[in-house]
Every structure is written in structure tokens, then in C-alpha cells.
């Protein structure tokens, strides 16, 4: 059992389990699954700065902050108890492409060759971590949700605006990964 838990899980195991998060949150507390709102609640609790968008009773949404704290703890638990000792196995084409940018370390979930505290202060690291993060936070709120709120919760509830949002996420991702990221990685 423990051996199975340590291996990477197949999509047909992980996908349905993620899908079950939706009814679990609904039945346990009438909460609609979503993660990116937590970023807004953090703004509202720490730095509302008299901005109307952040002037609300964030404590009523405390469940969302506890949920993302749980996600953080899930990462801590997995890496300590259920960690897969092998490097992540990806498509050989990607390995070949990334090697040309000097990315060869597959031991972590993030590419430690380019995402670490030293590279943070280089142009490449700044673009990837600081600018990238900003786009994620700005874009998800402007879109009214992220992969969980729109692509899973929204699509599952047959909301066509969520389909529009999901297609926009994918278009943005395809443009970045195939057309822009190669330039950033070769900096």
C-alpha cells in the first residue's frame, strides 16, 4: 500500500479524486470550490487600503484561507512521507528542449536550475517568478476565477462563461509556452 502511495499517481486516480473535492465542499459546508479568491481575502485582511474591492468581511470567507493552508500542509506531508524517490519522468522531447536552456534537474516539482533564490535576482528569474506570479494573481481575479473555480467548478456546473475563461487560460498558456517562454529561457 505504502509503495503504491509513493509512486506517482495516474491521471485516472487523481482526476476523479480532485473532482470529488467539489461535492465534499458543497456537502460539508455549502462552499463552492475555488482557490484564487484566497488571494483576495489575503489582500482584504492584510492591506485593504480603503479599496472598495477589498472592503468586506473577509472573516466570513475564512474557510477559503484554511483550505489553502491545508493545501500547503498537504505539500509538506507528501514530501516528507509519501515522496517518490525518482526524478519526474517527462516526454523526451521536452527533456531535449529544456536541456538546451540548461535545465537538467528533474528532482523537484519546480525547475531548480532556474527557480531558486540566486536566480530570483537575475532577469530570467525575475520574469519567471515575480512577473509570472503577478500575471497569475491579476489574471485570475480579472477572470473571476482560476483553474479550480472556472475550469473545474464552473464547467462541472455547466456555466458557459467558465468555458470562455478556460479557453482563454489555454490560449494564453499555449502562446506563452510555445512563443514567448523560449526567449525568456534563453536569457
Amino acid at each position: 500500500m505504502i509503495e503504491f502511495l509513493k509512486e506517482p499517481w495516474a491521471w485516472y486516480v487523481a482526476g476523479p479524486l480532485i473532482g470529488l473535492t467539489v461535492p465534499a465542499l458543497l456537502i460539508l459546508g455549502n462552499k463552492s470550490f475555488g482557490v484564487s479568491s484566497s488571494l483576495r481575502h489575503i489582500c482584504a485582511s492584510c492591506l485593504p487600503a480603503n479599496i472598495p474591492f477589498f472592503k468586506y468581511e473577509w472573516k466570513k470567507e475564512i474557510w477559503n484561507l484554511l483550505f489553502v493552508f491545508g493545501i500547503f500542509l498537504g505539500g509538506v506531508i507528501t514530501v516528507n512521507l509519501l515522496s517518490n524517490p525518482d526524478p519526474i519522468a517527462v516526454n523526451p522531447k521536452l527533456v531535449a528542449e529544456l536541456a538546451t536552456y540548461g535545465i537538467t534537474n528533474y528532482d523537484n516539482l519546480v525547475p531548480t536550475d532556474i527557480m531558486n533564490w540566486e536566480t530570483l535576482f537575475s532577469l530570467k528569474g525575475f520574469l519567471m517568478m515575480v512577473v509570472g506570479g503577478f500575471l497569475v494573481g491579476f489574471g485570475t481575479r480579472y477572470a473571476g476565477g482560476c483553474t479550480s473555480g472556472h475550469s473545474i467548478m464552473g464547467l462541472a456546473n455547466l456555466q458557459w462563461p467558465s468555458l470562455v475563461a478556460t479557453m482563454s487560460f489555454m490560449v494564453g498558456g499555449f502562446i506563452m509556452a510555445n512563443l514567448i517562454l523560449p526567449f525568456i529561457l534563453s536569457l
Binding site: P16, G75, V79, L82, R141
Partner: protein, 164 residues
């Protein structure tokens, strides 16, 4: 007073996903269940390598079915679950009626969606995975998370000037 509460709910509803106001008051430990669901969710995230920058790169280069399989089967499972909840009028464990807010269209879903997509492919993470990545020891990602919070804050600041 009730007008104030309505106003607050309205304010939270702006672009928000989570506006389920429960009429019930619960003791603080009831909230621990959300931590537990989050932990389980985080474990799946890491074990299925969904939070891996490399898996996101594969997805956007159409080099692997993995992420499509995960998201597709998650949506399918959630869809069936919501159908069952609605069909059999299943209540919450406290006996409340389950309500899911409809999402209304705004061009923000296109502009914001494209913006998020660009960021997703650089960082290899949507908001949920950022928390899990930090948990797995990638401490530098806390900078990415802070920057994402800053992005949300700036959106709030200039919200009125953006097309919706």
C-alpha cells in the same frame, strides 16, 4: 443593518467564487474540516505531479495526455456529483439547501483569462499549486505567491478602469 449585510455580500460577490453565506453559526473547530480537505487535495496535487512545472510545460506543448486526463476526469466526476446533488436535492450535513451561484459573463474572463494563461505557463502553477509547491520545500515560490497577491491587489486598485 440588514441593508449593510446585503451590501457586504454584494461586495464579496464581485468576481468572487465563494459567496455562500451560511445562516448557521458554527464553533471554530467546525472550520478544521476545510484544513483536512485542503490537506487531501494538496497530497493529490503533489502525487499526481499536477503542481510540477514540467507537467504544465508538457501540457502546453501537447506532449502528454496526463494533465488533460486529470482535468477532464475531475470535471466529469464533479459534473456527475453536482447532477446527483441537484437531482436528489441533497442537503449539507447541517441540513441546509446546497446552492451554487451561476457565473455571469464579463469580458474580464477573456482578458483576465489570457493574462492568467500567460502567467500559468511561465510559473507552471495556478494559485492552488503555489501553496503546495511552497509546502514541498520550494521556498522561493513564496516570492511568486507574494507577487500573485500583489497582482490581485493591483487588480482591485484599478478595477473600475478596466473593461468588464
Amino acid at each position: 443593518m440588514s441593508q449593510n449585510i446585503d451590501k457586504d455580500l454584494e461586495q464579496r460577490s464581485l468576481d468572487a467564487m465563494c459567496v455562500n453565506e451560511s445562516k448557521l453559526e458554527h464553533k471554530w473547530f467546525h472550520h478544521l474540516k476545510y484544513v483536512i480537505i485542503g490537506i487531501l487535495f494538496g497530497i493529490i496535487f503533489v502525487k499526481a505531479e499536477i503542481i510540477s512545472w514540467f507537467r504544465i510545460q508538457e501540457m502546453f506543448r501537447m506532449q502528454s495526455f496526463h494533465m488533460y486526463g486529470v482535468i477532464g476526469s475531475a470535471v466529469f466526476t464533479a459534473m456527475i456529483s453536482i447532477f446527483i446533488i441537484k437531482r436528489f436535492n441533497i442537503k449539507t450535513i447541517y441540513g441546509e439547501k446546497i446552492e451554487i451561484q451561476a457565473k455571469s459573463f464579463s469580458v474580464g474572463q477573456i482578458y483576465g483569462g489570457l493574462t492568467f494563461g500567460l502567467g500559468w505557463a511561465i510559473t507552471g502553477a495556478c494559485p492552488g499549486p503555489l501553496f503546495a509547491q511552497i509546502g514541498t520545500g520550494a521556498t522561493v515560490i513564496s516570492v511568486t505567491l507574494l507577487s500573485a497577491i500583489a497582482g490581485t491587489w493591483v487588480y482591485g486598485l484599478i478595477r473600475d478602469k478596466l473593461p468588464h
